[in-house]
Amino acid sequence: MNRLELHPPWATAGKVVFRWTPSPRSSLYRTNGFTMRFPSEIDVTTLPDALLLTAFLLCVHAHFPLLSPLEVTLPAVLGPGEAEFWGRVSDVEAETLDALRGTGVGSHAVRILEKGSSLSPVPERSGGRCAGAFSGGRDSLVQAGLLAELSERPLLVACSSGLPPLVDHLTPRRRFVVAETRRRLPVDLVEVASDARLSIENRFAERSGYPVAVNELSDTHVYGAALLLAGWALGATRLFLASEADVQESVLWDGVTVQHPHLMYAASTQRALSALFSRWGLSLGSLTWPLPGALVQELLVRRYPQLSDLQYSCWRVSLGEAACNRCSKCRIAALGILASGGDPGRAGFDLVRILLAQRGFAPRRIGTSGRAPHPGQLVGRAHDEFTVRSLRQIRFRRLVEALGRGPSREHSLRARALAAYAFQRLRRRTLHETVQMSPGYWKAAIGWLDPSFRGPLERIYADTFPSDGSPRTVTLVARSEALTRRIAEPLAASVPAEARS
């Protein structure tokens, strides 16, 4: 049995410090805690202890399944049902991880113990100000645009947290994106710095047989914790963390709902967290839940062209770049922008490098026999189909024009010609690929949206995209809702806090 003792977080001098003690020592942790550093306009000493401990659990709960069997000791007694709530969050995440690892469900056991005294209730906030997590990626840019359009001076919270050797949080491009967003939108944008991502050994999950990196399970929760604390401190009650429809994909394996491996974006968890936050007058949601990634990209180009040049999606980027221009993510983004009528060069995408690096691209195949493919495979296929559709939509003449602009222009004529040739070959290679029509927004997920934005958002979506009310999306939404109910049930029942096993 592993043990993880969480020490009381403390807030002082502009920072919140989180510490833990694992026993025995686990190679999951490179440090025994982390710090979040807030800007001067945030008085961290006003943050309630219950909120600090919730932020702590938000950051570390994704580690619980990786350390199980595990006994977690908390430094205080949570609100009614909350210990059980966190246990269930962990259970649901563990089910997906176990299924993806192929070790069957039920091998996990996470026991949460509460020590010490009860925490003072969190003073309820009112006012309805919106706050959104901001990274510069297409989802957060679209959400920032929507928040600025639909609400009064929203707050954006950017969280910088290095994960060596990646430098995506350190580049001048990121600083530019943050500064320009602050300048171009009627928003307040604050930056939180943290060493939270540094504290984990990112390959721990893979070494344990799970097909994910640890940060793919926990990053968004770190950003969510920063959003929760900064948002509360600055009077925001409606919190938004962009999550798109693609990652709500799930399958049923032996009666167990297996979610997309990027569990941190799961609406099931986010909506359950919203139920928890509602105890303090807060809510958590996403404005892009109903939108598949392809539509998010298109919405950014078509509705927010003033922001689309700020897109900063690639985490493989080098220090002096805007994107690595080699990876599949850059391919999807650049071709998607071009297909939507935008100019990928404005966002720093170098079409020449992308087309030459991705000239071997071929859409993934999903086997039709045997067990249903897992959600990660389905979404991977969907992204490939997005690329195929983009290749078909882009007129060759437009491509040639785009190759003469932005970073592509710096290349020799020969390199540009080779890139154009690579484009044509890619198009020919995928000519006979059977792909689904361009997806619509998930009609069934509209109900997940913040009630006050639901109507306007659906109008925006409907103005731009077809709706998808297919049984598949209805089923996916229903599965997610079932998980949410399962997780949040202890909160509704207000079960007295007690150790669970």
Binding site: A13, V17, P164, D195, L319
Partner: protein
Amino acid sequence: MLPGRGKGAGAGPDGSVEGEAPRLARSRDVLLSALGDSRDVTFVRSAGNLGDELIWAGTRRLLADRLRREAAPSEALGSRGEVAVLSGGGAWSKPYHDLLPPLLGSLEGRFARVVIFPSSFDPSVPEVRSALSRTRAVVFAREEESLRRIRDLCDARLADDPAFFFDFFPYRRGGSGVLHAFRTDREATDAFPLPPENRDISSVCSSLDEWLWTIARHAEVRTDRAHVMIAAALLGKRVRYRSSSYFKLPAIAAYSLDGYPVVRDDFLPGSMSDGTPAAESGGSLLQAVPAVADRRETPRAVLAAPEPRVTAIILTTNRPALARAAAASVLENAGLPCRVLLVSNGSPPEVERELDAFAGPEPMVDSLPLSENLGCAGGRALAAGAVATEFVFFLDDDAEVRPGTLERLVAELDAHPVALAATPAVVLPDGRVQHCGGEVMVRGGSISFLPFGEGLAPEDPALGGPAPTGWIPGTAALVRLSGLLEFPIDAGMKAYYEDNEWSFRVARSRPGAFRRVPGVVAIHRHERKDRRGDGGAEIARLIPYLEAIARFRVRHGYVLDAVFGWLPELRRPDGTLDVSLASDLLSALSDSGSAWFLEAWRRSEGHADLLKREVRARHDSESHPRPAVRRWHVREIPGRLRRVVARAAGLGEA
């Protein structure tokens, strides 16, 4: 270039020295040309102390390719030959003239030619005058005063003392404290009382190696022995000397040591206390080290930065008080906004809590508790990942910065955008510079990271102004974050020498990447980690150092010369470095691990020959691929040889 400076007076295998000082090169030429083309050279040693042994070692090195035999005076008188080289030294003076003047005539009867190597001569001694005035030998004086005195008596020429041809390079290292090494023999002068702590090392040390190490361990040497003065100067020590009973020390210093920090101290009354640094004489450490920098010298833009541009990373293991002092020095003395990251490198929880308690109320200080001790390299590499400022300032936990240091370093890198790192003068508690950057020297298979300015006072004009430097010691180093991202610290260097490795790797890709800024200082409460014995526990203690050296060798192919400090057993009897043995041993350590190393060391008791056997045995016992000899090649080999080759290649009789 001065004799031996920068190149450690080290000669290559052919006896030549690349970059050798012009005068030393001239000395080499005139000495060798005096031998003519003869290959029949006999080196005749005189009697003497360890200073004379240094002369002999230098002579052997100079004559390495010419020497046929070596003989004591009595042996030389029983042999014949073409050329006899009579050892240089001070045996032509009043205190010591019993042996050589009478020997000279006898040698001339048995050898076609005799050459007296550079010596000091006092022809006022009748026996000396008589011998010189009758000789046909070529006579070399080692300083101008002797030359002046004998030039009318014999075929007199001038050259540097043979000790200058000795390879001092392996002994070069930082030192601390003052060595008083005044002579106690018949040449001693009674003009000054001996200091109570005096140690006449030329008489009391049991070997040349011990003698050299004794000098090397100190920062300053005070002496009236010529070869203690020479060795100390060439080892980079600050030297204060007094005359012995005649002129040779000032004359040698004037002729051969011009430009070295060698000071004549005859004029000081009594002990040399007037020159004792404040820290040594009970003054405070900070008083001993002047605040050289003036903030007015720093560009205003650097001082006016609104946001922190620097994060100081202070790594500590179980030394929270020192780390706090280091952090406080940054907070109090940095003239620009600066963050501090206190990193607990696998310390126990109470240390983590102490650092947390220090960092908590400080808005600019964070603490980072590493879950295990990653060594300096691993800890710094990981901590750098938490930095988002333009610069990282690595500061040892036992170091502190003085006012003005950080901003001047930032200004230096601002002024040199190509440079990736800068270092101040790092000063020891005794008030002397430990290093201010340094130079890298590669010779054969070994590599040395030589400190610049070692032993000088921080305000010494010899340190010069800001300048490029060959490497950046990690004690106090400002590094661009972009440089660390491009050239990450090799966490595999574990505990030690990561600054050497990083510097070497960066410098190869980025010439001009490093700057030294002598005008500003950091203080280093450095504790030497010298070898403290021969026992198994002591050798086990050295393993982390040796593993880091082994990794350097694996990564870059060179043997860090520090290994010869940790394991002097790897030197040959003449004091030269057995780089081949060191390389094999480090290779074995890398491949077979510390357990094998410790066992091999125990079995061999550190004897070089036995160590070689252990390395060979290990090599043989492991399944190394046999040489690839293809059958058709084997068939082409005739007769019995074919069978031998085939068996060696594991091909049977083929």
